[in-house]
């Protein structure tokens, strides 16, 4: 069970403000509890499958100019 404090910390890490605190905590806890059922799936010995390609199917190393961009820096706020 994740605590209210952990949810608050995680929200900050994901750069999310939560307005209705109690409601968020309740719903996120319910979601994570639900995910917890995966513990009983009995799949520990399963291998992870993935889509595969060969190196020949990858993008050829060619340059193409896209022609977007300003010639100026993008301005972001100061880093704290």
């Amino acid at each position: 069970m994740v605590t209210e404090e952990e949810i608050t910390e995680m929200a900050a890490m994901m750069r999310i403000t939560i307005d209705d605190h109690a409601e968020y905590v309740d719903k996120v806890q319910r979601m994570l509890d639900y995910f917890g059922m995966l513990d009983s799936a009995g799949v520990d010995d399963e291998e992870v499958l993935a889509q595969e390609v060969t190196p020949a199917q990858l993008r050829a190393d060619e340059h193409h100019k896209y022609g977007m961009g300003t010639g100026d820096h993008i301005r972001a706020p100061r880093l704290g």
Binding site: I7, A11, R15, L38, Q51
Partner: protein, 471 residues
């Protein structure tokens, strides 16, 4: 010609000069105005008429206007278009116009399709009712007090309302098939890697596909033949193959009825439609028998584990630095600015992003994410084993008929259960189709067929057979 005419017939008539594309589009725009109260579209194409006239010019001068000449097509608003904004129904992307066009949109336009507008959805495609949209809910054209399903609710409604002959949706866990079922139209989730995702705004990129919705199965097949195939801009399409011509009969085909997707608890109205469909398939000579997919019980948990993780990462780029909306930077530190900017996400998106932070987090990795991947792999093995024996798997598309607006809003985990029959195709990468097969209390109910990877063509053939026996 009327607005319920199938797309392939519209294209045929326009190409033959029997009707002008301009007239088709005029009438479609008129229908869009008449159905404005359903809140189907987020934006409309101001150039639709002039684009239609160009098609008519091509017909007059004898050049080939394409396989979708003059066909009105709507596009879910999470697929990038250059001439209309792409908002994902989020305040985060209010007014955002993509500098490039999605591959599917390019391919549709190249074949003469006219994009009439961008359709409503759950914010960033997270939902299955189209209620989580900053532009308000879309209403079900069959009965406006009911939800159209989601997240491609606007797409399904546009096709059901005659405001488009074909629509492009996206299907992450049923987002094409669910609203197709609720609105009484056909919806297709292609094999993962058959259709380019270039220009589809990612929600859960490892399992989602762009898929068509239409009023008939032949129109789905036509749309698939136009949009499917390898795209050098999407590395996951390297193995895509052409969609074969359908028309394989049902006689002697073996069909598995997935027990876990039609349990005793299944809604009785849905069960009635489903059982009629199965008998219909048997009457065509198919052999239907019950099969079991044990991992289905864990599939929804695995699905939400994977989708929230990927969503948490895919949506991180919305920080209002490189593009976004005006928010004065004055006085802000970078991280506080980003947090303030991201307050524009709606509550459902915020919840999934937070949950998506926990899943791959150092402290929880083994607990959730790896297990979800393993459930996904085991499920794929189970399904592959069944496809060694069976040609198709069948189930209801959604375990319940359409429900009223607002009915399910407060119960996130309860809503999750509505995905139980659709997420298997996404987790395993298999193609799946929802065919409108009847009604319960006047509301549409769809039946889902699933096939093995890259058997998209034969699957559409089977769907055509099922469509043909619906009274």
């Amino acid at each position: 010609m009327d607005l319920d005419t199938p797309a392939h017939e519209i294209a045929g008539m326009v190409s033959a000069g029997m009707v002008s594309a301009e007239e088709v589009i005029e009438r479609t725009l008129e229908r869009m105005r008449q159905t404005e109260h359903l809140n189907i579209f987020i934006s409309t194409n101001p150039c639709a008429i002039s684009e239609a006239r160009r098609i008519d010019d091509m017909v007059r001068t004898g050049s080939d206007p394409g396989r979708l000449a003059g066909v009105p097509v709507s596009i879910k608003d999470n697929i990038c278009t250059r001439t209309m904004p792409t908002t994902c129904a989020s305040r985060m992307l209010e007014g955002y116009v993509s500098p490039y066009e999605a591959t599917v949109v390019e391919r549709l336009r190249r074949e003469g399709a006219i994009i009439v507008g961008k359709t409503n959805l759950d914010e960033f495609a997270m939902g299955l009712t189209t209620e989580f949209s900053v532009y308000g809910p879309t209403l079900n054209p069959r009965n406006p007090r009911y939800v159209p399903g989601g997240s491609s609710g606007g797409s399904a409604a546009s096709v059901a309302a005659g405001a488009a002959a074909i629509s492009m949706g996206s299907d992450t866990g049923g987002s094409v098939r669910n609203p197709a079922s609720f609105c009484g139209v056909a919806g297709f989730k292609p094999t993962y890697g058959m259709v380019s995702r270039y220009g589809l705004v990612s929600y859960a990129n490892s399992i989602e596909q762009v898929g068509p919705l239409a009023r008939t199965i032949p129109d789905l097949a036509l749309a698939m033949r136009v949009i499917a195939g390898p795209d050098p801009r999407d590395g996951t399409t390297a193995g895509a193959r052409p969609v074969s011509d359908t028309g394989d009969g049902m006689d002697g085909k073996r069909i598995g009825i997935v027990e876990q997707m039609a349990p005793d608890s299944l809604h009785r109205g849905v069960r009635a439609v489903f059982e009629r469909a199965v008998s219909g398939l048997e009457s065509l000579g198919a052999i239907c028998e019950a099969v079991s997919l044990e991992m289905v019980d864990y599939s929804v948990a695995a699905y939400y584990t994977i989708t929230s993780t990927e969503a948490g990462s895919n949506l991180a780029r919305y920080d209002n630095i490189r593009y976004g909306y005006g928010l004065d930077r004055e006085g802000y530190e970078f991280h506080r600015y980003v947090t303030a900017s991201r307050d524009r996400f709606g509550p459902e998106v915020k919840r999934r992003i937070i949950a998506g932070g926990f899943v791959p987090s150092a402290g929880y990795t083994g607990r959730y994410f790896l297990k979800a991947l393993k459930v996904k792999s085991r499920l794929a093995r189970e399904v592959n084993r069944l496809f060694g024996t069976y040609d198709y798997l069948v189930s209801p598309t959604v375990p319940v008929p359409p429900f009223r607006l607002g009915e399910m809003l407060d119960d996130p985990v309860g809503l999750f259960q509505l995905d139980i029959n659709t997420v298997t195709a996404n987790l395993t990468g298999k193609p799946a189709v929802s065919v409108p097969c009847g009604t319960h209390d006047g509301l549409p109910v769809g039946v889902q067929l699933m096939a093995d990877s890259f058997r998209d063509g034969p699957l559409l053939g089977a769907a055509r057979a099922l469509e043909g026996i619906v009274p």
